[in-house]
């Protein structure tokens, strides 16, 4: 079914993450805070440094709008960032809150997701992420549902295999964990036919383990 003939809604980042995490997709721990003080408290609990983002149902392009604050080292920094972000919210954003998450470090970024093709229906996608992702165009896709053999094949089919091996002092990518991301996406799409697309971008490889630090799920109304 072509996605463009239906009207769709994008879930908020935290709702998107909750949905995908329930199918085993590894998501960085995070908390929602209504105000800057609560955000600072959440950051203390998570441990510094943290990331603070503005979260809301109608917010899709956070980075473009400057709604992400990275590498905040203490409670004061979190409070200041939180106040800033709330000030940037517009009426169209609807109900907003502050999303606090640990800063996930890793020099490698992947992308993974779900996409609907007019011929083949919903598909699982894995690709090389980062700022050069589009230029590199190293992406593999499979029809939902996939099994572990398909997931392993997808990982093997990426052209940039060097990125999956030991890299700049970081261990090789944990293939079981990466397969679990793909299988989780497939399971989510199978279980919830409302899903039209999903984006885990980036999927940061931290200490060899892929962790989604951002997620957006688009559902059919």
């Amino acid at each position: 079914m072509p996605a463009d003939t239906d009207s769709t809604t994008t879930l908020s980042e935290s709702e998107s993450k909750r949905l995908l995490a329930s199918f085993g997709v590894p998501i960085a721990e995070e908390r929602l805070a209504p105000d800057p003080d609560a955000a600072a408290e959440a950051a203390e609990a998570i441990g510094f440094p943290v990331v603070v983002k503005l979260n809301g149902d109608n917010i899709a392009h956070k980075t473009e709008r400057g709604l992400v604050r990275l590498d905040l080292g203490d409670a004061d920094a979190v409070r200041r960032a939180g106040a800033d972000l709330l000030g940037l919210a517009t009426a169209e954003d609807g109900e907003v809150a502050l999303l606090v998450a640990p800063l996930v470090r890793g020099s490698r970024e992947l992308i993974a997701g779900l996409a609907t093709d007019p011929q083949f229906g919903i598909t699982v996608m894995l690709g090389v992420g980062g700022i050069l992702a589009e230029a590199i165009g190293d992406v593999v896709l499979r029809m939902v549902p996939i099994d572990r053999i398909d997931a392993d094949d997808m990982i093997d089919d990426l052209a940039t295999q060097a990125l999956l091996a030991e890299f700049r002092g970081e261990p090789p990518v944990d293939r079981d964990a990466l397969a679990a991301v793909l299988l989780g996406l497939s399971a989510a799409a199978e279980a919830d036919p409302r899903i039209v697309s999903a984006d885990l971008n980036p999927l940061i490889v931290s200490d060899g383990r892929p962790i989604a630090v951002d997620a957006l799920v688009e559902v059919r109304d």
Binding site: D117, P118, Q119, F120, G121, T123, V139, V140, L141, R142, M143, I146, I149, D150, D153, M154, D157
Partner: protein, 488 residues
Amino acid sequence: MPTLDQFRALFEPRGVVVAGASTHPGKFGFVSLHNLLSAGYQGKVFATNLAGEEVLGIQTVPSVLDIPEGEADLVFVCTPSAANPQLLRDCASRGITAAFITSAGYGEAGDEGRAAEEELVALAEELGMLIAGPNGQGVVSTPVGLCAQIVAPNPPAGRIGVASQSGNFVSSFMNFGVASGIGFSRGISAGNAAMTTVADYLEYYGQDPATAVGLAYVEGLTDGRGFLERLRGVTAHKPVVVVKGGATSGGQRAAASHTGSLATDDRVFDGACRQAGITRAKTIDEAFDAAASFATQPLPRGNRVVVLTTAGGWGVVTADAIAQTSLELITLPEDLLAQIDTKLPPRWSRNNPVDLAGGETRDTIPEVMAMVAEHPDVDAIIYLGLGIQSNQAKLMRTGSFYPDHGLERIVDYHERQDARFAQAAAEISERTGKPILTATELAVADPENAGPATVRATGRMCYPTSHRAVTALDHMWRYARFRSRRAG
């Protein structure tokens, strides 16, 4: 989906009627009857012609109703589209259950044509008749000597079953077959595929004992997922090779105007093929090579390859080609090295590629080939250098000194040797159940050379370059791996 009985009527008819036979050698109604008769079809041949003229020695009749009942299963339709509904009714009354329709003026010809096509399909369903086409080039079935086509060629008999959305690619594949000696079991152009689609034919080939591998050209798919799901049922027990037009946006624009299909991201099609165990080839020659290999070589049990060569450079380039694939150029095991040492002078490569370095005596090549093939750590061999001796022999035979100066004897010896080597490759492959692919440009540069000629005589393909052999073997290994992983 047509029934097995209907497919039998199409591919193994007891008799064929050419409807609309013509006395004019430029018309389809003449050419198809000519091809049918010339190819040595084993069943009865009838033809209709409004004037009841004699064509190519066949006394035509004005109507299908003049043909005895139960003697023909297939009608090959060259009549104008307006005449076809009555024709099909008449055919059904004579017990005919399959029709190949070459007539144009259907789905490809605007709204009116589309309506006519829908009516034709509804009528065929009512009559219990299979329709191939319309607007197709023809059907080939070598087990019964059937070549009912409005174009050449008549391919050699073999085990490839081809189905194509574009009739000219049936011809292309079969021309490769004529050139390489690798034959076909069945071949059909789906034309507008009004009732019977490429997936239908491939599913039939999956059940057809005469066919070892399906080969298809597709352009537009109206239901990609359905197509792949159906082919998955075939690849579970038989390989299917697909080449798809419209992989780029430029190609997609061309395909949309040709077959009216929806564009899809090529990477999705690629991934779906991987999931379904379909061998996807980038080009027509790559597709043919893969199908020819599936049809004539045993499936490899692993990816460990040894290259056997009589010259260094060929081996190096082949090693490079292997490095780009899922195949592995293995390090030679110690015991195999020691075995080969007993057959070659010390200057041989002692490495993979096994470069015989010109150290061969009369029996070296077959002996070393057998040692390598029999080793449990080796899954496949690529053999290079066949035909060099016969190439020199040709120059000697056609030169001004022949047959004096001992030339007659050496020419004979060279040609015998290359023939032996080619035979050894086939015999050792059969005995060990491991693929041995022979590659030399002489396959196309001089097909009559005793080397490639003997490879063809053993029923195998002589690959024109080692790169093509490597690519074909890679496809075979990927499919073998799919089968072993998906077993049970």
